[in-house]
Structure formats: structure tokens, C-alpha cells
């Protein structure tokens, strides 16, 4: 049973890490806690649902299409919400507030249009068949999640540390003004970050929607609390930190539910958050990110 529980925790943790990737990237580069992120997650799942269920596309095509569509949506919405604030040099909290208002309106609108019910992928696309290795059962969708998490984290790290684009992004993260002076087009880069982050959110939405096969407008909000815990415990803006913190959180939650009490899952997540804030505010693996002056 412990093996199965660890597998459950690993998969749950992978979904948390997957969810947090684009979220932490966005903060890392443009210093914005973008709460609309959760909505891109919802959007990705619904777009994939529409493509597979209503248009009959195969999942292999619908998946990247949904990710790209979410990314494009993110360019539009983030641009609308954040560009003006960036131009007038508004404080960090203004962008947090504006995305908070926007995401509330977006969820509520989506609920009004799509209905509050849980929707599910047709049985033919979900890959719910379970395989069994050494008494551990795992479904195809879950294997896909683990693989996708590894590939996306690896890809993102390669992008950030192995390419010129990544260098520009890191320069922008360090000091946007200096980056602007060095001839980096920060507006276009910000749009690119929105796209990558939105696409990651959309991809996460599809995969996590596939795994639990439960898609509804507020699914992004439900992940948000975990997302916060992961990005703070991992260190704001730290991609590797998000991966490790996500996996850790998933395993701790499952073990709590499996061996202590299932009602304590949320409380455990939050207790970890508060403990990290008190003891290592920069995240388990991070250096200080307090920026002043």
C-alpha cells in the first residue's frame, strides 16, 4: 500500500508542479503574480474538451492546439491588463489586484456560459486503462503527466539557461530598465513570457483534466492555493524549486490523507506555507528576493 500511496503522491505532486511552472516563470521574469493564470488552466482544459468531444479531433492534436490557444489568450488578456500598469510604473500589488479582479470576472463569466457542472472527456480519449507494475496501478494519463512534467521542466530550464532568448529573459528578470537600455524589447519579451506561461497553464489543464477527468470552470481556482504553496516553498521564480516543492507537497498530502486523516490535506499545505514563510521566506532553495529602492 505504501508503494501505491507514494505513486499517488508522485502523480498528484507532478500535477502541482505542472500547474506551478508557468506561474512561477511569469513572476520570475516580469515580477507579476498573475492570478489569471488559473483561468488559462481552465481554458486549456475546455478547449481540448471542445476539440475532442465536439470536433472529434484526436487528443494528440487537440493537446498542443489547446496549449497554443491558451498561450494566445494569455498574450491578449495579460497585454490588456498589465501593459498599461507597466507603462505607468505601477507597484507590484496593482498588477496582483488587477489580475485578481479579472480572474474573478472570467471564472464567473465562464460559469454563466458553460454551466457549473463537471464535464468529462469522452471515454475514447482519456487513457483510463490502468497498468500494474509490482502491485502499483497507474493509468496512461498518469504516465503522460509524469512524462510531460519532466519534459516541460527540462525544456524550460534549457530555454532559460541554454539559449540567447533565455539570457535576455534572465537579464529582464534581474533589471528590466537595464535590459531595456541594452536593446532588449521588453514589451515583446513580456508578451512572449505571457504566451509561454499561458501555454504551460493550458497544457497543465488538459493533462490534469485528463487524469481526474473532471473539467469545470473553477478547476483553476481549486489549484491556485496549491500553486501558491508550491511557488513560495520553491522560491518565487525558481523553476527547479517549483518542481521539487510540487512533488513534495503532493507526496505529503497523500501520505497525510492515507495515514493520518483525509480532512487535513489543505491544512497541511498551508502549514507548510506558513512554516516556510517564517523560516525560509525566500523558499526552500532560494536566495532573498526582497527588492527595494
Amino acid at each position: 500500500m505504501l508503494g501505491q500511496q507514494l505513486a499517488n503522491g508522485l502523480i498528484l505532486g507532478a500535477t502541482y508542479a505542472l500547474f506551478a511552472l508557468g506561474f512561477t516563470l511569469m513572476f520570475g521574469v516580469i515580477r507579476v503574480i498573475n492570478l489569471v493564470y488559473g483561468f488559462y488552466f481552465t481554458a486549456g482544459a475546455f478547449i481540448a474538451l471542445y476539440l475532442t468531444r465536439n470536433l472529434g479531433w484526436p487528443m494528440a492534436v487537440a493537446f498542443p492546439a489547446a496549449a497554443i490557444a491558451s498561450g494566445v489568450m494569455a498574450i491578449g488578456i495579460d497585454g490588456l491588463l498589465l501593459t498599461r500598469l507597466r507603462r505607468v510604473g505601477a507597484p507590484e500589488l496593482a498588477s496582483l489586484m488587477v489580475t485578481l479582479g479579472a480572474v474573478l470576472a472570467l471564472y464567473a463569466t465562464a460559469t454563466a456560459l458553460l454551466g457549473p457542472d463537471i464535464k468529462r472527456f469522452p471515454a475514447s480519449v482519456i487513457g483510463a486503462e490502468a497498468m500494474e507494475f509490482a502491485a502499483i496501478r497507474i493509468t496512461q494519463a498518469q504516465v503522460l503527466i509524469l512524462l510531460a512534467t519532466i519534459v516541460l521542466v527540462g525544456g524550460l530550464l534549457a530555454l532559460m539557461h541554454g539559449t540567447r532568448l533565455g539570457l535576455a529573459l534572465r537579464a529582464m528578470a534581474e533589471n528590466p530598465d537595464a535590459a531595456g537600455l541594452m536593446g532588449i524589447d521588453t514589451i515583446r519579451l513580456a508578451a512572449l513570457v505571457s504566451f509561454i506561461s499561458g501555454a504551460l497553464a493550458g497544457a497543465g489543464g488538459v493533462l490534469i483534466g485528463l487524469n481526474f477527468n473532471a473539467i469545470q470552470p473553477y478547476m483553476g481556482e481549486a489549484m491556485m492555493l496549491r500553486g501558491f504553496v508550491v511557488i513560495i516553498v520553491g522560491g518565487l521564480g525558481d523553476i527547479r524549486g517549483a518542481l521539487i516543492a510540487g512533488l513534495l507537497l503532493g507526496i505529503v498530502e497523500v501520505l497525510t490523507a492515507g495515514y493520518i486523516a483525509s480532512g487535513l490535506k489543505e491544512a497541511v499545505a498551508f502549514a507548510i506555507l506558513v512554516a516556510v514563510l517564517w523560516s525560509r521566506p525566500a523558499g526552500l532553495f532560494g536566495r532573498a528576493v526582497t527588492r527595494r529602492a
Binding site: 500500500m1 463537471i118 473553477y218 495515514y259
Partner: protein, 374 residues
């Protein structure tokens, strides 16, 4: 003085819309508080449909010598404060003499004390939690509480060989929690051993930790008290984790919905639930109701619509027997209800709960559809 003046000014805007409705009522005013928007809207909409279908039939002839009943349904959106505001408006502004609803037990705990204080009879059609009618002498319900339904289901499972059971419930709504309390009591009473008690949230999507634990304990049955959506999720994941048909699945009132089959499909096969009503119940009253409902709304009625349909008749009959649109007299008349509707024969206990659970049937999922369990 000054303070009151301020308040009046603040409310001046409200008066504009409210005043016309303060004119004297033309028909007998009955109010209903139901969830018409938001995540739980499906229940309120079904109830509203049931009430209005019954009302059509009642107003055809009228009561008290030809007077019509005017039913105003206010939306609570599932929110406690909106439910209270709605009930106060129905009573204070629309002069409703009876309130039907509200939809959820939690809302009734907030609304009940208000209507009870004002001595307006209030009849819940879907509130199944414990303690509802203890709010006060004006609070009734026509819905069978879970404590009448669940024991029937458990007896069925026991007859099929259940000796141990694992209980699961959503711990974040009153309805599911009450259902769990009843399941626990039933298991204890029947001598069935409870090997595990696991909770989850109504919006959770991952139940793997709880199910893995339960699977290792190898119970004869798993009983789940929650609304249909999380129940479907639990059932689907149980199958993924390899919990097979040898484990009897038992649902509470929340599982008694055709949505279970729609969402979980064959994964839910073999699950049994108790129900005070069944669409295919052969008696003539029920068949006429189902046909009329289909004709008006172009869909099948569910349990909530059926309960509401009966409730409207029960209320109308009580007004008729009271002889006047007077809340006090209607309350007394309600207590003496003797009625036979789509749910079967109906009367209130002295505690204003339904008197008989004889109509309860046990249903079983098969191929995504409910049928009578054999």
C-alpha cells in the same frame, strides 16, 4: 432620529422598486426560496419546475372557491444571506402566507429561524439534514430525511452479504455530513463493521489516497455520502485503482440522480441507492406526473421535481382546509395533512417530518441506468 433618517435615505433607492409590490395582493401569495443560479442551481431549477407543474393543475380550478395561488420563486444562489433576504422579501413585501424551500439544509438553518419567528409556515422539499424541523413549530418538510432512506439500502446490502463497510463522505456540506451520520448509525445498528471512515471535499478531484487505503482494508462494501458529482469521481477512481464489482457500492440520497450514469457510465454499475421515488414507479398518479412533466419541460423529472410537485399539492390542500389565507390556520391544517401523491401516501409526524418511509425503493445501477434492485 438622525440615524433613522440616514437609514431611510440609504434605503430610498430600494423603495423605488419595492413599493409597487407593497400594494395588496390579488391572489393567495405563496413564496419559494430556491437556488436558481450558481453551482447548485440544478436542484432549485428542478424544484421550481415541479412546483409550477403542480400549480398549473391547482389554478385550473382554484382553491377557496376559485381563488388562485400566486407563486413567487426567489433566487438564493445558495447563499445564506440572499436566502434570508429573499424570505424576508417574500413575507414582508409580497405577503406570502407560506414559504416553500429553501433548497439546502444550510440555507434552512439560516432562513428557518426568521420565518419561524414571524410564524409563517415553511415547508422544505429537499432538506434532508438532521435537526431541520427542530428549528421551530412552523418548520415542516416533505422530503424524507436520510435517516428513513439509508437503513433500507443498508439492509439490502446486508442481505447481499455485507459484513464490513468503508464509509466515505464529503465533509463540507451539511447534506453529505448528515447522510454520513445516518450511514454510521445504520451500520452500527445492523452490526456491520466500519473498517474505515474517509472524507473529501465536494470540489476535490483526487480521491486516490483515500481509495488506496480502503482497497487495502478489503471491505465488503463502500458507502458514499456526497452530491452526485464527487460520487461519480470517487466511483471512477475506485475502478482505476482496481476496486472491482466484488465490492458493493452504496450511495446516499445525493447519488440518486441520472447524472451518476451520465458521468460515471459503467463504472457505477452495481451501485445501490435508496430512493423515496422512482421514475418508473407504475402507479397511475406517478405515470401521469412523469408524462405531464415531459410534455411541459421536454425532459425527465428527477426526485427533486417529484418531491416539489407533491409539496405544492400538500400546501394547496392545507390552505383549502384552513379556509383562509391565514398563516396560523394553514400551519394547523398542514399538521393534519393526509395526502396521496406521486411519492405515495403522505402525512406529517408530530415533529413535522414525513410520517412514513414505506415508499422507499432500492435502486441499482446497470449499464448507466437505475432500475429496481433485485
Amino acid at each position: 432620529m438622525n440615524r433613522r433618517h440616514l437609514l431611510t435615505t440609504a434605503l430610498a433607492g430600494a423603495t423605488v422598486t419595492a413599493l409597487p409590490a407593497f400594494a395588496q395582493p390579488a391572489a393567495i401569495q405563496v413564496g419559494a426560496v430556491e437556488i436558481l443560479t450558481g453551482p447548485a442551481a440544478a436542484y432549485g431549477i428542478a424544484i421550481k419546475a415541479g412546483l409550477e407543474l403542480a400549480l398549473d393543475a391547482i389554478n385550473l380550478k382554484g382553491i377557496l372557491g376559485g381563488q388562485k395561488i400566486a407563486l413567487t420563486v426567489e433566487d438564493s444562489a445558495g447563499d445564506k444571506n440572499q436566502a434570508i433576504n429573499a424570505a424576508r422579501k417574500l413575507i414582508g413585501r409580497d405577503k406570502a402566507v407560506v414559504i416553500i424551500g429553501p433548497t439546502l439544509s444550510n440555507e434552512m438553518f439560516a432562513v428557518g429561524p426568521v420565518t419561524n419567528e414571524r410564524k409563517i409556515p415553511t415547508v422544505g422539499t429537499s432538506t434532508t439534514a438532521a435537526g431541520i424541523t427542530e428549528i421551530g413549530p412552523y418548520i415542516f418538510r416533505t422530503s424524507l430525511p436520510e435517516s428513513d432512506v439509508v437503513p433500507v439500502t443498508f439492509k439490502k446490502a446486508q442481505a447481499r452479504g455485507m459484513k464490513t463497510v468503508a464509509l466515505m463522505y464529503a465533509n463540507d456540506d451539511a447534506f453529505s455530513k448528515s447522510g454520513y451520520d445516518v450511514m454510521k448509525a445504520s451500520a452500527d445498528k445492523l452490526g456491520v463493521k466500519i473498517v474505515a471512515t474517509e472524507t473529501f471535499g465536494s470540489k476535490d478531484t483526487d480521491f486516490s489516497a483515500q481509495l488506496t487505503k480502503i482497497k487495502a482494508l478489503k471491505p465488503d462494501a463502500i458507502a458514499i455520502s456526497a452530491l452526485v458529482e464527487p460520487v461519480s469521481g470517487v466511483v471512477l477512481q475506485a475502478r482505476q485503482l482496481g476496486i472491482g464489482p466484488e465490492v458493493q457500492l452504496i450511495g446516499g440520497n445525493g447519488s440518486n440522480s441520472p447524472k451518476l450514469g451520465d458521468i460515471a457510465g459503467k463504472a457505477a454499475d452495481g451501485m445501490i441507492v435508496g430512493s423515496p421515488w422512482f421514475i418508473a414507479k407504475p402507479d397511475e398518479v406517478n405515470q401521469k406526473f412523469v408524462a405531464a412533466f415531459k410534455a411541459k419541460y421536454n425532459k425527465d423529472p428527477d426526485q427533486f421535481a417529484a418531491q416539489a410537485y407533491d409539496c405544492m399539492f400538500i400546501v394547496a390542500a392545507a390552505i383549502e382546509r384552513a379556509g383562509a389565507a391565514d398563516s396560523e390556520k394553514i400551519t394547523a391544517a398542514l399538521a393534519k395533512t393526509s395526502f396521496s401523491g406521486v411519492m405515495g401516501p403522505f402525512a406529517f409526524t408530530s415533529g413535522r417530518d414525513p410520517a412514513s418511509a414505506d415508499g422507499v425503493v432500492v435502486l441499482e445501477m446497470n449499464g448507466g441506468k437505475f432500475g429496481i434492485a433485485k
